[in-house]
Structure formats: C-alpha cells, structure tokens
Amino acid sequence: TPTCEPDNPLCCRRDHYVDFQDLGWRDWILQPEGYQLNYCSGQCPPHLAGSPGIAASFHSAVFSLLKANNPWPTGTSCCVPTARRPLSLLYLDHNGNVVKTDVPDMVVEACGCS
C-alpha cells in the first residue's frame, strides 16, 4: 500500500506516530513509548475496486465481475484496512499491578479498496 502523499487522491495509508507522552499517559503505560496510529484514506474509483493493496487475485475477481455485470456500478468501493497487527503493551492497572497484554488489530499495516 502506498503511504499517502499530499497530491495522491487514491486509497493509501496515512501514518501517524503517537507518543504516549503527548497523551500524558507515560505514568501508567510503561512500554512501549508510543505506537503507529495509521488509518486509510483516499478514493476507490471502479478500476481499483477490490484491490486489497497486497494480493491481486481478489482484485481481478471483482474486476471481471464488474465488467461482466455493469461497467458503471452504483455502489462505491471504500478505502479500508486490509492488514493489521497486534500491539504488545505493558501498563499499570488501577491496583498498581504490572500487566502485559497484546491488543489485537491495533496497527494498520495495509489499506485497500473494498
């Protein structure tokens, strides 16, 4: 997936690094110091519908369906996350215990058109 450039209108991944210091949460989140809060944005014109930003097979299946049925579909395709990974956090709970846990699907790694 391309990361979003200022002049790129198409579906891409917008990267933001969030330092827990900026949230004022470094007193209870012990590790890591921050994380990538990425999100997907951009347009999905018909020829990109189904292009998941990683594997083309899904894209070609959708594309041929589009051609076979109707070149100008009424529905729109949206720019959505297609690959995400967990975030391992070490934090203090309200009893002062140290907790280590994996939060699933926290970091968007790839975006694609639905």
Partner: protein, 218 residues
C-alpha cells in the same frame, strides 16, 4: 479547514494539520482504552517503587504474550503484619482480574536473605479475609529453601481463584528443617519485604474462562 484543498476521500474541505493532530491523539486514547477494555485510564495512587518495577519489567520482557488472548500480571505484595519480619509474614495482593479471568499459572517470588539458617521448610497458606483463627487458612504449597536470593515458588492455580474478593492474602509459615538451628536463628530477618526485593506474584491469565465461548456458541 483549508478552503483551497479538498479531502481526497470525501471531497469535503480538509482538516488543518493541528486539528488533525488533535483528532489523532483523541482517537489514540479511545483506541487504547477500548483495546484494554477500560472505560477510563487507571488512576495510579501508589505506583510500585521504580526499582521493583525495573525488576518486574525484566521478567515481563516486551514481545508477544502467549497466544489465546492471554495476559501476564505482576502484583507486588504489601506486608500487613509488621510484628514478625522473619519469613512468617502475611502478604496481601490486590487482584481484581482473578474474578473475571482464567488463571493458567501462578508463581510467588521471594527474595531470601543470606542469613538463612540452613534449609528452611516453607509453607504457603491462603488466608480467607472474612474468617478468623486457624480454620481460616488453606495450605497451598510446601517448599524447601536452601539458598539465599530469588526463589519462584509455584502455586496451584485452583487455590487462588474462586473468591469474589479482589484481595488475596497469603500467609508464609517457615521453620528450620534440621533441629540444630537455634530459635534465635529464626528471629533474624530471613526475607526481603520492601524495595526492589519485595515479594511479588507472577500470573498468567486468560481473557476469559475456557469453555465459556463454546457454551455461548452452542
């Protein structure tokens, strides 16, 4: 809002960078609290001593937790009875997670002082906070300790769960294994109870009790 440029997704006006940054920080707070199943950030009234935290973090090296939505918890003990500072102490832990989670593994970490009078026979009881007298305690585990330093004593998971209270009290009872140790030997401090060597519990818990999902699916 930048009038001259349009949002590449919805075609509406774009958001100014400062406003976008504020939105991202607010989004991050919501995403993390939701991921940790918290409604608000914890209020840390008594953070553990930094040295004890450093030691704990060394045990919980970052990196993925065991699969199956598990968590690892380290809970530091508060010593409630200051009368005996040998190793027959009462350790109190505050653990609200035990009520709603499944406990896979529990280990009690104790740091024995070099003043150990030979081999020590150590018993660990669970005290029922609501009852008094000797009947209010259940034997969890027995260990023999021969060296000073850290000892990780395994406890039966079944013995630590099942209570509605979020307070867990463990009573340590120790006596020399050989008859030759003098009673005076027991009066000396045998166990670290404060600072970075204070006792702590290391738990591996699951996000929900096994089998609950199956019954719900049925």
């Amino acid at each position: 809002q930048g009038a001259e440029s349009a949002c590449s997704t919805c075609g509406g006006p774009t958001v100014a960078p400062q406003a976008e940054r504020a939105l991202v920080l607010e989004l991050a707070k919501q995403q993390i609290l939701k991921g940790l199943h918290l409604t608000s950030r914890p209020k840390i009234t008594h953070p553990p001593p930094q040295a004890a935290l450093t030691r704990a973090l060394r045990r919980l090296q970052p990196g993925s937790v065991a699969p199956g939505n598990r968590e690892e918890v380290i809970s530091f003990a508060t010593i409630t009875d200051s009368s005996t500072s040998t190793c027959s102490s009462m350790l109190t832990f505050h653990l609200s997670t035990l009520r709603s989670h499944h406990l896979y593994q529990a280990r009690l970490w104790l740091h024995m002082l070099p003043t150990l009078p030979g081999t020590l026979y150590l018993r660990i009881f669970r005290r029922d906070p609501r009852r008094r007298g000797r009947g209010s305690r259940t034997l969890l585990a027995e260990h023999q300790v021969t060296t000073s330093g850290w000892h990780a004593l395994t406890l039966p998971s079944s013995g630590l769960t099942g209570e509605e209270s979020s307070i867990l009290k463990l009573q340590l009872d120790c006596r020399p294994l050989q008859g030759n140790s003098t009673v005076a030997g027991l009066r000396r401090r045998l166990l670290y109870t404060a600072g970075q060597q204070r006792p702590f519990l290391e738990l591996k818990i699951g996000a929900n009790r096994p089998g609950v999902g199956r019954s719900r699916r049925r």
